[in-house]
Symmetry: C2
Subunit: 196 residues, 2 copies
């Protein structure tokens, strides 16, 4: 087994525009993809979560044309895992990326509270609780408020207010860590993404 598995902490750079490297599959955590404006500043483009492929453009250019940064602690493995990718694998990647892009676009429609709620639902993942209590609990590690703002095209103060609202509404339940309630890690206590 190759040990090329990559681990990045929240906020760490995974790759930058123009550097060399391979494509990766996101095994856990979440990643933001940015493009670089001619001026050099980066702006949010897309989101990658568990199962998504990032950096596929390296097969064509062998340099990354986007930048990738960890939104939460995340694990990546080189892609494709073994043999050179089939045309089908490529197409599957293409269509998956298109669907993800569609979801990301949708995150910028509608009321702020809904947008943030939908983003959180996208990031949340089933918690295989080990316990057999049948309740399909969801857990989520939130990105920084600034990252959430970049994704939803809101301001960080607005996102902060909405996360507070969701907490008060009982939709988000902060995990307890040595007495403190975490600002990042939550249990998600409502299934629908359609808020008022």
């Amino acid at each position: 087994m190759r040990s090329e598995r990559l681990l990045r902490k929240r906020g760490e750079r995974i790759f930058s525009v123009g550097s060399r490297g391979c494509a990766w599959r996101v095994v856990s955590g979440s990643v933001r993809i940015d493009r670089q404006a001619p001026s050099g500043e980066e702006s949010f483009v897309s989101l990658a979560i568990c199962g998504d492929i990032i950096g596929a453009e390296t097969f064509l250019f062998d340099k990354y044309s986007f930048a990738a940064t960890a939104l939460s602690e995340c694990v990546l493995v080189p892609w494709p895992e073994a043999a050179p990718p089939s045309a089908e694998a490529f197409l599957s990647t293409l269509t998956k990326a298109e669907h993800r892009a569609a979801e990301v676009i949708a995150l910028r429609c509608g009321q702020a509270a809904n947008r943030v709620h939908r983003l959180i639902m996208m990031l949340a993942h089933r918690l295989d609780a080990g316990v057999r209590d049948g309740s399909a609990a969801l857990q989520v590690v939130l990105p920084s408020r600034q990252d959430m703002a970049d994704i939803t095209a809101l301001k960080l103060e607005t996102v902060s207010r909405i996360v507070s609202q969701l907490r008060q509404a009982g939709i988000l339940d902060p995990l307890q860590r040595d007495g403190h309630s975490s600002l990042r890690q939550f249990m998600v206590c409502q299934l629908g993404t359609d808020a008022p």
Copy 2:
């Protein structure tokens, strides 16, 4: 020469979710891509303009997974033109689509006036004036106000107001057609996309 060339008027459907067909290259005009929500209603996903490929997912599923509608009168040709597409051609399509997605996402950032202005600049194309006056004039046929609103995540009244502003500011110059100034067809009289 095959006559499979497709011509669609403004507002006409090009293909729908679930129907069979091939991929197309947009030769002229502009196209909106929508996805279908589980509820059945369609929501804007992406934009295709001159040179873009749409419906590439048919190579994998042979059914369209998005819907496409003409934003302005447009011409399409089957893709790939002749031989089965190479892996490179696929990848090129993938990365082009990613770049387009990046631009579309950016159309939902910042102030309304800037967003609309940037959209118009994306849609505008160089007018080979036939005349040798050297001025690289730009021309654009605008989509309906509602379509522009869907793309920029604004409301149609807001888009209408901003188009009026741009007209008054001399950035858009309505083409004259038998005495009337067109609401759709404009000369673009400013190069930068960075408004105040």
